[in-house]
Symmetry: C2
Subunit: 504 residues, 2 copies
């Protein structure tokens, strides 16, 4: 603590912690809705979420909090923890002051409703079941974006900022242009090579319970603490952290291909390790949460792709794999590894290989910009989706369930969220280079099943800082460089060369 | 609606609905804590529950609500639905106005902590792990009881009133005295008869998953709607209704005796049918919930005992039982039925037979009265418990896990709750006589697996009224008589005669 404003600062943190408790209650209710709630419960749940959002909004906009913040801000030292607390609180209060309580409630209610109709629409592969609720949601999000951006800002930037503070459409556009160009070259080179990877080692008969147990085991070996977390089936894999002591990940599976479940679990466990590693000391304070979704995604993708898809990891993991799946006893690392690193255009983002994944994100970036900008309407989405997939990936979904309805995000109003996945890819590649510089031969450790040094490095360099530093500043502090796509694209080129023998 | 105060009445219901939403959020969080939450999450969860309790308390005590209630109350017609809404709201506001917000928060926090330490203490069979948290809880409850009772009331009555409005210790005392006398006579006569029931037909090897599926099936046949509810494993069976559209029951099981799981599920499904049958029209209003725990318990016990332990039910259910448990194919109704209706003193309330169950409640009634009255302290409980069991049931637990730590109730501060179980027994017996008068040969229906007529009768006579009428008034309306123990004791005597051939 600094200066004489100790009591004001404490009061500010106390009030903030109550707001945070209301967010947590909402988060538990959302997790419950996704994994546990019976179908007919959604109407009543929507009202509860709406009330909680309203109460939270009222507390965030109360004079008591802004007064306490003003008092807390007096005399804080630049660069101190207290200054970071004030900065993050101001950011949130500034945002919230622009949103009327009625809109906050409407958004919460709309999310509950749209979530249910999205689920039904996806099951029936019928966009019309989702369309009215999505139209309502988009209307609310356009209004929210307009209010947040103000007369001089750009609405889509305001939505991006919620997930990745400071990032703008203008910065992302050249980035996606470069990625599209380079990734397309790799895809083209692979296609032209005529070489196909034998994916049969990843296929077979994988009983659900064995997949769960295997994924659970791998997550534990990564360091995920199951006394402070859990793993549940859900229609869409996600991670919810209610506190560093209560972090929940979900999974889904394909009965004939183990990759979907395993890499989904490693991905969500990567998120979960970040959440479990956030400092308890700052829990419930403005800087307590993860600093950005891009950083969050760098953690999940690092474990999923740079650890889980490496040869070194599999030279340790193969005996475990054989133990849980005796039917795959003839699978070797040499045969399996290429099947984990294919480059092949496909329809479903969350099942996409790492060579094409960011092209899926590029589709969504284009579609969302146009939608929030008002250049297209909800009714145009199925067609726009298919056309853009055709253009970027050269394929088209036979139905809307695997097309425009595949992602949960729009149902909760998460426009501007997708680009953080690609930022996560760029960040994780750059972090991994720094980790190797610091720790030496990571591959040798992975081959021995030693993941603790890497986790400790991430804890020290990323997790323990929570939101103390903005994402871009954190990346520079840890890697000594501003974020660039170079490491990521180098890794993609290296893998394509090793698997397909192509040089791009 | 009546009179010219329509807007005031609507505003009152709107404000009430928000308070109710906060209660629901808390209820979901409690269910989650009991069935899903990882162990380390309890500290953070306690803070969230405490904040929610504080916000709810503030909303309930806000002038805005009392003003709206006053305005709503103007000119309501006696006997109308609106009058019942005002009555129930006043009851709650009167109660809450006596409890300072700080005490409400402390109670919520204490419940979360005590719940965790109770769980640990029970697992370790070590009362000292629970004692400090329970002492804290008892201190808070004594304070709450004192404030609620006021200078002229009796503290224990104030606690009873929370669960069974209007019931007093003075009314319960002669009731328990009569029950103790009559039930003890039956137990004595059974013991003296020297006849023992062969319980082996209820024992065997019952795989957990088959028990779950069997219980699930029976609950469905009773009419429990699984699209508006669910069934989960938990350390203690309970039912949580978040809305008529989201009702959750839990179960536990013994691997070598199917009775624990099946009758637990039928019991909780009986609660669940009441919750699912509450009118949606009144959902979230003051008269929306069940009218009392005694009435609630009458529903669970009616299905568990008067349906589930009847010969008629088993003449329908036996083929199902054989289907789920092929190892029990040689079991017949004649052999099984006595094993479902034993009279034998035992240690665990929730596993107790129906001939001795209310003696377990009598123990708790004695212990709680003494504890809240300040005649004994928490440290005395293990010994007092054992002595009272010895006195009333003639047995003593070898450890505290199956003794004073067996019930969850005190961990959440539920003092005054237990007597509602016995009231439920008295009410269900009296209701069942009325249902037979109205519907005719219920046994013949049960033998055909027809439970709908009984459920419809309960929906019409009990469920649809929610809290419109106080419990004692409702019983009189439906049965034409004030509540008495006669029907219950007659049923107990009849069963003892049929099973043991004793006449009391």
């Amino acid at each position: 603590m600094t200066g004489s404003n100790g009591a004001g600062y404490e009061r500010f943190l106390e009030l903030w912690s109550e707001v945070n408790d209301l967010s947590r209650a909402s988060a538990v209710l959302s997790w419950d809705q996704e994994t546990q709630m019976p179908e007919k419960g959604s109407e009543a749940r929507g009202r509860v979420q709406s009330t909680l959002a309203g109460v939270r909004h009222a507390k965030l906009t109360a004079t008591e909090l802004s007064d306490a913040l003003a008092s807390a801000a007096e005399g804080v030292e630049e660069g101190s923890v207290e200054a970071a607390q004030v900065r993050e609180a101001r950011r949130e209060l500034d945002r919230i002051s622009k949103i009327p309580e009625s809109l906050a409630r409407d958004l919460a209610l709309a999310a509950t409703r749209a979530h249910e109709s999205w689920r039904r629409a996806r099951a029936a592969s019928d966009f019309s079941l989702f369309q009215p609720d999505l139209e309502h949601m988009v209307g609310l999000k356009r209004e929210e974006a307009r209010l947040l951006a103000g007369p001089d800002g750009r609405p889509f930037d305001a939505l991006l900022d919620q997930f990745e503070p400071g990032v703008t459409e203008a910065e992302l556009e050249p980035l996606f242009t470069e990625l599209r160009g380079r990734l397309s070259s790799i895809v083209r080179a692979v296609t032209e090579s005529g070489k196909a990877v034998d994916e049969s080692p990843a296929r077979g008969d994988f009983p659900m319970e064995a997949q769960r147990a295997f994924g659970h085991r791998v997550a534990r070996e990564m360091g995920f603490d199951f006394e402070a977390g859990r793993l549940d089936l859900a229609p869409h894999p996600f991670c919810s952290g209610f506190a560093p002591t209560d972090v929940r990940i979900t999974w889904r599976y394909l009965a004939d291909d183990f990759r979907s479940a395993l890499f989904g679990i490693m991905h969500e466990a990567g998120h979960g390790l970040y959440e479990q590693g956030l400092p308890l000391e700052w829990d419930g304070t403005p800087i307590g949460p993860a600093t950005s979704l891009g950083i969050h995604e760098s953690q999940s993708r690092l474990w999923e792709n740079l650890v889980g898809r490496s040869q070194a990891f599999w030279s340790w993991c193969l005996p475990l794999f054989h133990e849980y799946f005796p039917g795959s006893r003839d699978v070797t690392v040499d045969r399996l590894w290429p099947a984990l690193n294919t480059v092949k255009p496909s329809l479903i983002r969350v099942e996409a290989d790492q060579g094409t994944y960011d092209l899926h994100i590029a589709v969504r970036f284009e579609v969302e910009r146009a939608l929030i900008g008002g250049e297209v309407e909800v009714r145009d989405l199925p067609e726009l989706w298919d056309v853009t997939y055709e253009e970027l990936l050269g394929i088209r979904s036979p139905d809307v369930a695997d097309g425009v309805l595949q992602d949960i995000h729009w149902s909760f109003g998460g426009f501007g969220y997708f680009p953080t996945y690609t930022l996560g890819n760029l960040i994780n590649a750059q972090l991994f280079v720094a980790a190797k510089d610091a720790l030496g031969d990571l591959d040798a450790m992975f081959a021995r099943g030693e993941f603790r040094p890497l986790l400790d490095w991430l804890r020290d360099n990323i997790h323990q800082h929570a939101s103390r530093y903005p994402a871009n500043e954190l990346v520079e502090r840890v890697t000594g460089r501003a974020l660039s796509p170079d490491d990521f694209l180098a890794e993609r080129a290296r893998v394509a060369e090793e698997v397909y023998g192509v040089t791009v």
